[in-house]
Symmetry: C2
């Protein structure tokens, strides 16, 4: 049966041009072509195989990652890949490695925060990978609260050095990827102390290991923090622990440049200077500037969410078409599980979400350009809004993706629990996104703060901008009535949009009203935090819905492509409306009858998705290598491959397992008394 | 700091008698004492240590499990433990092993379905563990649909034997625990064929491996199906694949007794007889009988759900009291994260759920006794209701528990992602409960079928019984109005109960009404499946709430114990009411104002839980061994232990990791060209 496409009948059902949809998904023809080329390059090279990853012990796994990461770098050089190509190649290798932090955090930190001299010294070394760098910020006792970091960097004017020290156990650096076993250098964040005065957290370039023998330098204790969630997954990464015992570095290794690139930060850090005499010179960079770069980082996280969710959806959708269960009459084949409405009602909203997150991610890219342009023109007016918006979207999309991957796993029945389904590892490797770069709940509280501020300023004549612009129509939104009378009315974009706007506006206003009853605003904010989080979610969902609707205003070529996207947009918004109908009803935005009509329309949209489902996941253009799932195989030839995969488990190396003779046989032979257990 | 109780200040805050609460949690003083004794016995024996489990490769892990399972058996014999004690001991060893299936499935299957002769032959061997058995039902192509199994057992009258055969690849047995490497015997489910006629699925005792050398017998292909979700977790189990090539067994190894004990079944199987001449004699057991035993199995699953959820909640609650983040003023300690309202709003409903599931599980035990008693008196009247109820509660509690464990992991911030937190393994080992013994969505559809039947019979004078009794008051429930006027009104049990009853009744009636518009009822059921699932959930939530309220009607001794449970019951029900307010509002059971008052009351209840939170999880009486979590340590001494735990990772065995010299050093030295990658 080799070469037979078991899903061909499904592909023939598609009512749109899949190749054109691939371009839409990729964002542009250029991006598609690079991405496609890199994906194939990786998939066709046996050195990048990853199918045994979940069976390896930690050491073997890690060694294998070192080989792959180094090999990837070798190929990048040999093929003279440009930056975009190299990035794509690394992402298709699909294995977290120390190089991720080197390129994604260490290099940008120096680019962003290093002076010209610092850049000239360190960047060439980093670009050629003559040194390996990581980003040492979080500590055993401090993640979210960056301002509470305890590591100290005390200036010693006698030697013109900083003394980096870990004064407490909880000040141990903890979590940085690449730190545990690989990094030769780190950007270390520590409290700057000059003349006995604490100037808050700053960044320092610190060498950790000898470039000769890779041993930790004197005063440095460094190691891996141990196994993390899942098989394979993030265990290919050496997240590390690091303690300093009065480690001295030259003064010129404090990052002293004035434009920041920040990661993982909830609150802006400072980039200032220390003079030869130990005088602390505060940076004159407007604090707002730092938010610009958070917009950048979070934009990539949203794009990654759509990628991770779409992988899971692709696997679950294909296997739902392959798998049959019940419904056989007189020897006819059983029903494909994708034809069950309960399966559709769980799966198709996730398919729609993957597309929705793709488009909002695309829009965030534009937002970043827009913010950057404005900053260069000294226009800070949209910055707080843009910052809140990206914080909220990071939270919304990563939470939905983590839950969505697990839902896809369950949608595959028992077999989704096997590592060979690819879904357990996808889940385990993805979930930290809910915590890093801002805990998702903490971020929603930031959004809520911004919303409360926006509401409080409504009377002042200050016009809300960007994604909060709808608040400017708050008077209308507080009293407008949804005019849906039949199910199809829910297909009108303005109807949907106004319902989401009214819900978000009314929830924010209600929170603001409740807040105003507290004399101490901060205490009120703490007390009402759970409600505020819900208002923030409503606001963020509105953004995703509105950006999907905006996308549909564009010219989208290709037979049937736009129509499919319209259906998905309908699924996404009406699914949310149904799931959160409590919000819509309690704020009086819609009536129970209208809620029920929305649900009816949603059912009809599921039927429209059904024949296109396989083609809609084909449009992601994922290779079997990248998916790494027997259940999600392009050709749908699941069962023979699931069977073959089983025999590769190390336990099957021998017929009689290790331990049988020592332990089990004595039990069977009733000779346990003499066994050594 | 050894021996210091860092959580002592929290324990001192408790407003109730923890020791009395332990009895309530255990169910009785007797159960508490056995459980406590067995837990300590396991925890104090170094042979049962499990702290390295997540770091082991598959073979090593499995070998270690063989040692522990055999050792546990040895201790059971040495200490002459009774059945209850042995079961408790095995559960505290806390490691899935082949013995689980032997005791939990193989032995009961023979007890339930074997004739007296079969029992006399096989049970003594099994009871002494001279043979190891498993339960081979599911196949590569069939899980939920047991009637669709493909394995055949063809009677050969010439030799008086059955020929067991796997006619297709998808007929390979797949998933049975203990099958892959350990079982010498299996109860195999196969289609019985006599005289060319298919009599449906029946059970057969088949020997798989030689008792001399443990090698598979001729015609048998057997192995492990490979890695499953998570580190450690279910990878200690040899879930297996099994193929038969015309394997012959004597006729007397078909299970031919008339009382069934069924596991994993969605639909009842048959127990009949085949005579020497190959004549098939249909069983005369009333089909309803088989449901009785499903009630039993699902009852234990509900109890297990409360155990798993309470473990996660215990870890998250303790660490939330240990962990501090933000909120420091002038050097004061930061705020304990358990004091944040967002943390409370996520954590305390899970704490309340653990207790709620405990009590509904306890009630299910009673239900099982009641059903058994009735069956013995030939009273089948309550059986369908009891069956639907247990199916629904299995679904509700396992889904909520799986989600709840992951939520607890997220509530621990980044550190929850470390295996040493115990939470990743707890999640990975728990989630299959959502799929086995009936996929949770399929089960809810069964509940919905029962509800639709109940509604359709309301006019006929047939009185709904048990958990559907409220349907008998449907006329009142369809038009009653909630009379809540202030937040505290939501503390009145009758108010809460009626709101949940009205919501459930109205959702069922609405579904029935929509169904009646279809000419083809089955098609209507398929089409409206998603709505029906929601109605079933509403019904099941009502059951849990009502059983919690009933528990509070009992006499519960101990200072403050009942008051705490009242608070938790309020949290559980008002949390659900808030989360599902869309249901309550769309059915007009409550007004938006009343929903808002419920939310207000909920906030106030959280404040009442707060000082008792640590004591409420102490009441679970879990040893540190059983919890297996650095974050959840009884003494709260988290950080030094987290730090120590890190160094145990195999990657830290050497300072310079394996792979550095081969791969990474050539890269750093710019000599990649010559490296062997």
């Amino acid at each position: 049966m080799e070469g037979v496409d078991h899903l061909a009948p499904e592909r023939n059902k598609a009512q749109f041009d899949v190749d054109e949809m691939k371009i839409v998904w990729a964002g542009s023809r250029d991006v598609f072509e690079v991405s496609d080329r890199m994906a194939r390059l990786v998939a066709s090279d046996p050195a990048f195989r990853k199918d045994n990853r979940t069976m390896l012990g930690r050491k073997e796994l890690f060694k294998n990652t070192l080989r792959k990461a180094t090999y990837a770098w070798k190929r990048i050089i040999e093929l003279r890949l440009n930056e975009q190509e190299a990035k794509q190649l690394r992402s298709y290798v699909d294995e977290p490695a120390f190089t991720d932090l080197h390129w994604g955090m260490f290099v940008p930190a120096i680019q962003g925060q290093g002076t010209d001299e610092q850049q000239q010294k360190w960047l060439p070394l980093a670009h050629k990978m003559q040194i390996i760098g990581c980003y040492a910020q979080t500590e055993l006792g401090h993640g979210s609260n960056v301002q509470g970091l305890e590591t100290t960097a005390t200036f010693d004017p006698k030697t013109d050095e900083f003394v980096i020290h870990s004064p407490t156990l909880t000040s141990s650096k903890w979590w940085p990827g690449g730190l545990g076993k690989m990094s030769t250098h780190a950007v270390v964040y520590a409290r700057l102390i000059t003349n006995g005065q604490d100037h808050g957290v700053h960044g320092f370039i610190v060498q950790l290991r000898s470039l000769d023998d890779h041993l930790p330098l004197p005063g440095i204790t460094v190691g891996d923090i141990g196994m993390k969630f899942g098989n394979g997954a993030y265990n290919t990464m050496d997240n590390g622990v690091l303690r300093f015992d009065h480690v001295r570095i030259p003064r010129n290794q404090m990052l002293m440049r004035s434009v920041l690139l920040l990661y993982l930060f909830l609150t802006p850090l400072l980039v200032s200077q220390v003079t030869r005499e130990g005088k602390y010179v505060q940076s004159n960079v407007p604090r707002q500037l730092v938010y610009g770069t958070m917009v950048y980082v979070r934009q990539t996280i949203v794009a990654d969410a759509s990628t991770a969710l779409s992988r899971a959806v692709c696997i679950a959708t294909r296997y739902s078409a392959v798998r049959r269960q019940f419904g056989s009459h007189n020897g006819s084949p059983e029903t494909q599980v994708i034809d069950y409405k309960t399966q559709q009602a769980r799966l198709f909203p996730l398919l729609a979400s993957a597309y929705a997150f793709r488009f909002v991610g695309e829009w965030l890219k534009w937002l970043y350009t827009d913010v950057t342009r404005r900053l260069q023109a000294n226009d800070f007016s949209t910055l707080p809004e843009a910052h809140a918006c990206t914080a909220g979207l990071k939270s919304l999309t990563t939470s939905a993706t983590a839950d969505g991957i697990e839902e896809c796993r369950k949608l595959c029945g028992g077999h989704g629990y096997l590592c060979s389904s690819g879904l357990p590892e996808l889940f385990a490797v993805y979930v930290p996104a809910c915590t890093y770069e801002g805990d998702n709940i903490v971020l929603l509280l930031q959004v809520a703060r911004h919303l409360m501020k926006t509401v409080s300023q409504l009377g002042s004549g200050k016009k809300p901008v960007g994604t909060t612009a709808y608040m400017g129509r708050v008077e209308h939104l507080m009293q407008c009535c949804c005019d849906v009378q039949k199910a199809e009315d829910w297909l009108r974009p303005n109807v949907v949009l106004e319902a989401f706007e009214a819900r978000a506006a009314r929830m924010s206003v209600a929170c603001a009203k409740n807040l105003s009853q507290f004399t101490n605003q901060e205490q009120g904010f703490q007390e009402l935090a759970a409600d505020l989080v819900e208002a923030a979610v409503a606001h963020c969902q509105l953004i995703v819905v509105s950006k999907f609707l905006e996308k549909l205003q564009q010219d989208i070529p290709g037979k049937g492509v736009k129509q499919q996207l319209e259906v998905l947009c309908g699924v996404y918004s009406l699914f949310l409306l149904h799931k959160y109908q409590g919000d819509f009803l309690s704020t009086g935005c819609i009536t129970p009858t209208q809620a029920s009509l929305a649900n009816e329309q949603l059912r009809s949209l599921y039927s429209q998705v059904r024949p296109n489902a396989i083609a809609l996941v084909d449009a992601f253009n994922y290779t079997d290598h990248y998916l790494g799932s027997v259940l999600g195989r392009y050709d749908g030839n699941v069962y023979p491959n699931l069977y073959e995969e089983a025999w590769k488990d190390p336990l099957n190396d021998s017929v009689v397992p290790d331990g049988y003779h020592e332990y089990v046989r004595p039990m069977l032979k009733q000779q346990l008394r003499n066994a050594r257990l």
